[in-house]
């Protein structure tokens, strides 16, 4: 008897075919995209390098040693030392923590603000929509870099301490980032709210909050994921430009952008390329990987793009 039961079970099991979830399908498709996978692994490597790497460094971050200043790359200092005798590689890793954190945190903030405001304005339409979208239009019509420059100047005028600037820069970047996201989410919500499943939520008598957060926003997640990925790349670029100009993260806190500030000094620029080429290259490689990954995600998530 038991063997028969087992047989039935054995036969039944493969019959229960559950179609894989959207995320599993996506991952399967993404795995076929070699470029996107290389990018993903590179990004994981960058994270490990930045957040775990410093523990393996024999050098202490801010220990200055004038006797060892301006050494070219060697076996003991792989990327040389800077004007204060600090190890460039260690600083690069610590700067990675700051730059990656700023990129991710400002992305999360933009997404939270953008998705919320976009969903609300697409769901309620009318006056709410008008106010939110005009505000987004206004913010989008001031070009990003000048807007960031002004906000950076305000930060410097207010003499915000170096360790707090970081957080304000995250907020600044999300101020610049949310309008485009809100517009995108709003467009999605406008078409989603006309679909039958939303009529079902109406029949069920769900509250607006539940409709928005449990039914509408989750449906925009695939799109949000792609935009969020690309948004991180944009934030890292903006932060580095701002820090390079001395209006973003300021020393002693290292960031990839302000490490490149060395190139503003003609001697360092000409004679000591190890001071500014590694951070520049790191920014470039990180941003390229994020863009490629985002592009791969877009292809993997959008069935229409399957060609």
């Amino acid at each position: 008897m038991e063997t028969v039961k087992q047989l039935i079970y054995k036969e039944k099991k493969p019959v229960k075919v559950k179609s894989p979830s959207l995320w599993k399908q996506t991952y399967r498709r993404l795995k076929k995209n070699k470029l996107a996978m290389i990018s993903l692994f590179f990004l994981i490597f960058m994270f490990l390098l930045s957040f775990v790497g410093p523990y393996f460094s024999p050098y202490i971050l801010d220990r200055t040693d004038i006797a060892y200043a301006n050494r070219p790359p060697s076996a003991s200092h792989w990327l040389g030392t800077d004007n204060y005798g600090r190890d460039v590689l260690t600083r690069l890793m610590m700067a990675g923590q700051i730059s990656l954190t700023i990129g991710l945190a400002s992305m999360f903030l933009s997404i939270v603000i953008g998705a919320f405001l976009g969903a609300v304005s697409g769901f309620y339409r009318g006056v709410v929509d008008l106010v939110i979208m005009r505000l987004a239009d206004i913010l989008m019509s001031i070009p990003g870099l000048p807007l960031l420059l002004i906000m950076g100047a305000i930060l410097s005028e207010w003499k915000v301490p170096s360790e707090y600037r970081l957080y304000i820069i995250m907020i600044m970047l999300s101020v610049v980032g949310w309008p485009a996201l809100a517009r995108l989410v709003r467009g999605q919500i406008l078409s989603l709210r006309e679909q039958p499943f939303m009529q079902a939520t109406e029949v069920l008598g769900l509250s607006d909050r539940r409709k928005i957060f449990h039914h509408l926003i989750p449906n925009t997640l695939p799109l949000l994921l792609v935009v969020a990925t690309l948004n991180v790349a944009g934030s890292i670029l903006s932060e580095s430009a701002l820090s390079f100009l001395g209006l973003g993260v300021v020393p002693p806190t290292p960031s990839w952008g302000n490490m490149m500030d060395a190139a503003n000094n003609y001697m360092d620029f000409r004679k000591r390329p190890w001071l500014w080429i590694p951070p520049g290259l790191t920014i470039f490689l990180t941003v390229v990987s994020i863009n490629l990954l985002g592009d791969g995600l877009r292809d993997a998530l959008d069935p229409k793009m399957k060609r």
Binding site: L149, G152, G280
Partner: protein, 318 residues
């Protein structure tokens, strides 16, 4: 159509007001100004100067005074350069404009060609190379690529000047002057082109890919038309349509993209003046320039929407 234009026009006016409001209040948030940071002034003299420039009045009043002045073409007075912002802008904007225009032309020509080519030969080696370059160009920090180019072409190879618009101490005229400026322009124009070419190529490629899958293209081929006619006459016309509206955004985009490039190349354009005014706290200039760029963007946006609606009736019927 008329109603659509009118609707968009009113929207544009509202956005223009909102933008000027935000820009003004951002600057009003600044606690210091050129007078405060100038230590050689006595407190009485500083007070006098503030009254002269109207800096001691309440914020809202200052906004309307400022806006009224802007409408009369008076954008304020640069405290550092000791001349009106309008004449300052007029003096430097053309230097930026010429670089931006040349970069615009190059960007569009190259992006159109590579975008269309990589779309017709999708997944070919050429497409792969183009896609790779597009992503690289999109991901380069502007300051890093500028510095690299200066190092390679200016410092190491010594074939191009490292910055400025003319050689130091040069007083060439006529054709020699044009040649000299042209030589100094090569790197800035190349970099601006590189920075904006990526997204545009992508747009052309996607637009073209969408169009060449449509039935009317198959019909055109079935009629026995030459492939070049199918692509360039039938497909390109429709593929280019959504992209053409981007043209209106490009110029202000190039101006703001040029800020860092101008600073690094020491190019005497508005971008460099703007960055300079950040460090000298010369806020009227910064404010005027930001307003100028925003207005360009808003008006460009409006023109783009209107032309798009004019050529594509589907838009205005929505």
């Amino acid at each position: 159509m008329k109603q659509y234009v009118l609707q968009r026009f009113i929207q544009m006016i509202i956005i223009l007001f909102g933008t000027s409001f935000i820009i003004f209040f951002l600057f009003a948030m600044l606690p210091g100004d050129y007078i405060d940071s100038n230590l050689s002034l006595t407190p009485e003299r500083a007070q006098e100067l503030k009254a002269l420039y109207g800096l001691d009045q309440p914020m809202l009043q200052r906004y309307f005074t400022w806006l009224g002045n802007v409408f009369q073409g008076n954008l304020g007075y640069s405290l550092k350069h000791q001349e009106s912002v309008t004449s300052l802008l007029n003096k430097y904007v053309w230097n930026s404009f010429i670089v931006a225009l040349l970069a615009l032309f190059l960007t569009w020509t190259i992006a159109l060609l590579t975008g269309v080519l990589s779309a017709i030969k999708q997944y070919s080696l050429l497409d792969g190379i183009v896609t790779f370059f597009v992503f690289a160009a999109m991901s380069f920090p502007s300051f890093f690529i500028s510095l690299l180019f200066i190092k390679w072409f200016g410092v190491d190879l010594k074939i191009l000047p490292v910055g400025g618009m003319i050689d130091t101490g040069s007083n060439s005229t006529g054709f020699a002057y044009i040649l000299e400026v042209g030589k100094h322009m090569i790197l800035p124009v190349t970099i601006l082109t590189l920075l904006s070419i990526g997204s545009l190529t992508r747009y052309f490629r996607t637009g073209m890919l969408e169009v060449i899958r449509q039935d009317y293209i198959r019909t055109a081929r079935a009629k026995g038309l030459k492939e070049s006619v199918v692509i360039f006459k039938h497909a390109l016309k429709n593929a280019i349509l959504p992209v053409i509206t981007l043209l209106a955004f490009e110029l202000p985009g190039l101006f703001s993209g040029a800020i860092i490039m101008e600073q690094i190349f020491n190019w005497p354009g508005v971008g460099r003046i703007q960055l300079e005014s950040v460090s000298f706290r010369d806020y009227p200039v910064l404010m005027a320039f930001t307003l100028f760029l925003s207005c360009l963007t808003i008006i460009g946006n409006f023109l783009a929407d209107v032309t798009y609606a004019a050529v594509d009736p589907r838009i205005r019927l929505k």
